[in-house]
Symmetry: C2
Subunit: 498 residues, 2 copies
């Protein structure tokens, strides 16, 4: 085998891995959007079989021999192929450390747990979900011990979503945020309240669907490669740059909820849609980490989507679709879309209190993985943390610990990336402004300019660089969370006239 | 290896085959219902990879050794496992005869051809589809020559959808039908015309969706295991008895079109939903052939769905959802739903002229596979046959050769099973009447009685018996198409008062 033959083999192997991932992705998408309840049984069987087959493919003798060859010839590889080799090695270490039966059982468990979580949330009955969450936590701890016995188990969880992120970095980051957000929130709470009563104006779901289409058009999401589905908990899933799906949830009395879901998920989708063509069907296609992914989605949702200019841009369409809202000015709508107020639901939270919701989850996850809290005690802990961080009493588990889907799918360690992504976004805005007038581009419906900039700095690289390296290249220097706290201070001073 | 170990291996292998089939099925369902246009590229890649992997699984050394073992120990097997062995052998012969690259290329071709067919139909532009159809015909001929060089190539195509069906049997069957249908249709055309003008009363799509839900409830289709999707060309797909999907297409000015699609597809679904539990995830689960499948769908659509009693049963719901229709009596609606009249579109055709549409396709397929007609000449041939069989001029390809999806997916040889299924259904009705009063059961909203009878005679057996054997067991004697022609004569005499 020469290097070229090895790369051909690598391409073929990655294409096969893509195919399994695509099949899994479509089965999950179907589950979330339309599948009947009974589908859980055959889907569990199929997921189990395909997990096992794909596990064998990725860890089998051929895959091992190929990786060994690539490592031996590392110096002769292109930077792209070196990165692919590194990613394979990281992945191989995981897959080799975890016995196949456990890998298969875990994948069946999370599939089942997702259905159970949905039912538990609907019934606001944590007890239904508790045994599943308990098992998921046990698996996570066990996998951490097997794969990285040298690492703190929660650091292992964080690293899965944001390569290189640690509890230590989180502590410092959240400390900075808390120091700025808590006093800023106090000022906001003391300021003259903003009228938000009109936000519950009934906005019929079919009209909201039209609004979604308009938002996707403004963001330049291509119709031939991006569709929208309706689900309980919005998410984005991509099957290569040719087919990316976003989702939303419509509430007739809260049109902003879906509006900003669409803009948020649309930000994820744009990232996945703009990987360089040469990465197609390889491990370098698509976003590199959850932190970077969230930086794109939250940049679109908050920095672009909640700007005065964007609200003015969408305003005529909102009023056309829901004429009652014409009694409000674009200015009033912009302010209302930026109200800061402690609340119970993360996905509905405003930009300022949002990081506090993340901190609650961060504390929960540290306790789950690093501590010895019992699954039965988790709702109590959740409620106590909401009291401490947001000053609120949680009335039931539906509005508490059952609100998010992440843990049911095994996503422990994911949440901190949301806050990190928000901070990345603010620093990107700072850089973007050095190159062009961002407010003007939004005002003039020229979001293509924003997209082109992000494509050049972030999107096109797919997973070529490690997250921290990618961001430092884009920033032209190290990550600094004070761009984020400065941004929040400027913005809420303007919104509340502090 | 002992027999029990071999059966365990067989179960595992069939579960893996089920998983691949499930993945393919979900990818196709997604394609038909929601996928964006661009999804064609990654889906083609994934289908290609999974075809190759599943081909290797089903034809590899392990599968061959297992089959050899089962054949050696055939006498020690249960009847169920003998049938599984026979089906495997039949399948293995196909898979071994067709080179893997061709199998993969063909599967990619039909996936692509389905997208192209949709576009061609929308634009009524046969030229777009022509090269794909040409290639599909070439593949079918080549596969026939490779797999069954001893067989007439069109017989091979027929046998794929209805084990044991031949051109010779078709000729005799269609001759009987033609001899009865042509004079009966002449009498009908000379009778007093039935008023159908009210059938184009605008029936809003959301109300039609409610009507679909009601129909599914009347048919006892379980919500947890059966959903409905909206597509261009209605079909049913099942992923085990736990998850079966039906589809429909709504036209505001033709509510009967969707109503009878739902009842037809619902008949298919009931069959798949009632395989015996012990066949789950094995090759014996689900319907045995297209002919038997169509016998169930067309039994529900025509014999039950277009009966006076069923129309009376649904009538109150129709009138509730579309009050304008209250000016018509149930009797008038029943007659209008049974009007016989030569028409262009098979899926909209009435029960009496329907077999003529099938005969056109049968003649086309014989020419494609057995003759030397050029793909470019097929629309002309289609149009000439519609003139000959139905006396109609075809205005464009959308209403002509492009109307059906079957050929784009490689389904050459499928159509005759529709007519055969209709004839099976009439003979089943004859038997069912010996056991209970079918009209009374429908009148009293007791379709569960019909379902129970069909479950006992047909559904629960899955693919355990060959189609002809299954039907003979249900009939208590040989198949006889005169039950069908008698049924048509009785029914249209009543509808038209001949």
């Amino acid at each position: 085998m020469n290097v070229q033959e090895a790369i051909d083999k690598l391409n073929e192997l990655e294409l096969q891995e893509f195919a399994y991932g695509h099949a899994f992705g479509i089965l999950s998408w179907d589950d979330e959007t339309v599948a009947p309840k009974g589908s859980q049984i055959p889907r569990g069987k199929t997921m189990g079989v395909l997990s096992e087959l794909s596990y064998k493919l990725s860890t089998g003798d051929e895959a091992r021999a190929l990786l060994d060859f690539l490592k031996e010839h590392y110096d002769e590889l292109t930077p792209e192929d070196r990165r692919r080799t590194d990613l394979r090695e990281k992945n191989m270490r995981e897959l080799r450390a975890i016995p196949m039966e456990e890998f298969v059982a875990y994948s069946q468990l999370t599939d089942e747990a997702s259905s159970v979580w949905r039912e538990a949330k609907r019934k606001s009955d944590y007890k239904l979900f508790e045994p599943y969450l308990g098992k998921i936590i046990d698996y996570k701890k066990r996998f951490a011990a097997l794969v990285r016995p040298d690492m703190d188990p929660y650091d292992y969880c964080l690293d899965q979503y944001e390569e290189g992120l640690t509890r230590e970095k989180c502590e410092a980051f959240f400390k900075t945020l808390r120091e700025h957000i808590v006093p800023l929130l106090e000022k906001v709470m003391a300021a003259k309240p903003i009228d938000t009563s009109f936000l519950s104006t009934p906005f019929p779901v079919p009209a909201q669907r039209e609004l979604s289409a308009k938002l996707m058009e403004l963001m330049r999401l291509p119709k031939d490669n991006c569709i929208i589905g309706e689900v309980e908990h919005p998410f984005t899933t991509g099957f290569s740059k040719y087919d990316v799906r976003i989702t939303t949830h419509y509430f007739e009395d809260n049109f902003l909820s879906s509006m900003y879901s669409v803009v948020h998920e649309g930000g994820h989708a744009l990232y996945d849609l703009h990987s360089d063509d040469r990465f197609c069907f390889t491990s370098l296609e698509g976003g590199v980490s959850m932190g970077v992914h969230e930086s794109q989605s939250r940049f679109y949702e908050n920095i672009i989507g909640r700007s005065r200019e964007f609200v003015e841009l969408v305003y005529p369409e909102i009023v056309r679709l829901c004429p009652t809202l014409a009694s409000q000015s674009p200015e009033a709508l912009w302010r209302a879309a930026n109200v800061a107020q402690p609340s119970l639901i993360r996905t509905e939270a405003d930009e300022l209190t949002y990081p506090l919701h993340i901190m609650v989850r961060y504390e929960m996850e540290k306790a789950m993985i690093g501590g010895d809290v019992k699954p039965a005690d988790l709702p109590g802990m959740w409620n106590a943390l909401y009291k401490e961080y947001l000053g609120l009493d949680v009335p039931d588990d539906k509005n508490g610990i059952l609100q998010d889907s992440h843990w049911s799918g095994g996503g422990i360690g994911y949440f901190p990336s949301y806050a990190l992504g928000s901070a990345y976004g603010a620093q990107l805005l700072h850089k973007m402004r050095e190159d062009f007038d961002v407010r003007k581009a939004v005002r003039e419906n020229d979001l293509i300019q924003v997209n082109n900039w992000l494509e050049e700095k972030i999107w096109k690289y797919g997973s070529l660089y490690k997250p921290a390296e990618l961001m430092e290249r884009a920033f032209g220097g190290p990550f600094d969370p004070t761009y984020y706290t400065d941004y929040l201070e400027r913005k809420f001073t303007e919104v509340y006239g502090l």
